[in-house]
Symmetry: C3
Subunit: 212 residues, 3 copies
């Protein structure tokens, strides 16, 4: 189980590092700005998760693989030839950011719940779901606060909700189909919901102030 | 003792969720923006407190009541009919925000110190006061940073100071009158100081840069 | 060892409190804004370090010396006569901020690694370096996010990199020359690199978006 989680987590680290690097490049930051924002985005969620579950020092600090993967990915994004691929039109960058961010959201939600199960909290569905949502959303919130943007979680329709629904699917499905199947389906649900929401501009009611 | 603390904490959760929801509505966020900002404001202080005291996972993650109360309260604030009550004039919203935020400040300061006493730190008055101030101020700081506002703690006169004075009153009074009486008086002191400071525009010296 | 670390940490607390107070004065905050920003800057890195190393409650909460030194220093910075010294020209303030921030960066990086060694992680060079960088950079990030500035770590060339190089020097040198010598040299390397980078405007490549 642990090996599966680590493989998925490294995949999530790569895609979230890309999303952080893209935001930094959008803001015309220098090499180290890109590296740091990639690192924070890719590791922020897992850092929060480990603090919540009482895993100290957080994995991020004991095992270099996460930081090295996050930094390496960010630096690759910085290479001019790579940037050219997604530099053609703002639309291309936006689609790329949407896809990597959605992949990261789905995988980190599942990784968060998987580690919570490993830490012995498998019988508390509320904790599982909550830790999954925080793990998936945490890195992006740090990215946006540090970059001076309003956090995605407030701006993008269905962002946290997609994570919430997918985490609920995992909790229900793992009782029937086991953890691995539940993780795959849960991540797919999150990814699909988030992409559909963006494609079809799903909107939620806005809290316009009512003038009486 | 524990039951008393939980009841007070739920009251604080309700009022801080209202304050978070009001800020989100002011910013014309959508349904989930309102829910998330209400949740973060209502639970952020307790989350920090539990990390500081070594209570992992933080209560927020093990017991659903805090998240459910915070989300429920935020969603009620979102109902148009409810918003109409406080939507008439900016002045009404401002007064409402002042009152709920002051109530939350007082109750969370006391809850923070109460849990610190429960965790065995009753003989360290410095830790009690500091944890009380952080618990009471933490949720509001997260609310303001995530919403892109300058934290209240810098803007409103006597915000953290009111919390500090009330926490000092608790620490002194509990030696004579017991924890319960000290909590009631301490919370009342914080609420009163904060309202008086707003009413009479108590001002502190501002650090204008001195030109030599 | 512990006594040496505490002495260095108090020195770092003083210089980082000055840097926080200077930013608050620049923003024309009131007395308590200056005190709080000084406190957060001076203690934020150590707070993160203790959470990471599993030292709960963090030293900051159990030992009043850090908070009192940070608050006292901030209040001294607020005295008009003191402000006059650095109020003459923007250039004077900028140089002062650069020097105190660089001193804090160097000392906190070493203190972070020193406490990590004390906590039994001396045989994990990656963890040592990472904790050192986070301890040195953490308080400044909190200062800038709370003050509504873009974090220094993105803006100033060689900020985190200087910390990284100095931490690497410590890890290599302590095997030959012992912890104390390694800390002195490591801190000096960080301070020197940071000042040189500012003096000679060392620049890193900027991620201008490539138009294809």
């Amino acid at each position: 189980m642990d090996v599966v989680l680590i493989i998925i987590e490294i995949f999530g680290t790569v895609v979230f590092a890309i999303s952080g690097a893209l935001v930094a490049i959008e803001k015309e930051m220098d090499l180290f700005g890109v590296a740091i924002l990639g690192l924070v985005t890719a590791t922020g969620g897992g850092f929060l998760r480990d603090l919540i579950l009482g895993t100290v020092p957080p994995r991020l600090f004991t095992d270099p693989v996460y930081a090295l993967v996050a930094l390496g990915t960010s630096l690759i994004m910085f290479i001019p030839a790579v940037r050219k691929i997604h530099g053609g039109a703002k639309k291309v960058r936006d689609v790329l950011l949407l896809v990597v961010d959605s992949l990261g959201l789905g995988t980190f939600a599942m990784v968060g719940m998987g580690f919570a199960v490993d830490a012995g909290f498998g019988n508390n569905p509320f904790l599982l779901i909550f830790v999954g949502v925080v793990t998936s959303v945490g890195g992006g919130v740090m990215r946006d606060v540090m970059a001076g943007n309003r956090p995605y979680v407030f701006v993008k329709h269905f962002y946290a909700t997609a994570a919430l629904i997918g985490c609920g699917v995992f909790v229900l499905l793992r009782m029937i189909a086991g953890d691995i199947v539940a993780m795959i389906v849960g991540a797919a649900v999150i990814f699909t919901l988030r992409i559909l929401a963006a494609l079809f501009h799903w909107k939620l009611p806005v809290a316009r102030r009512e003038e009486s």
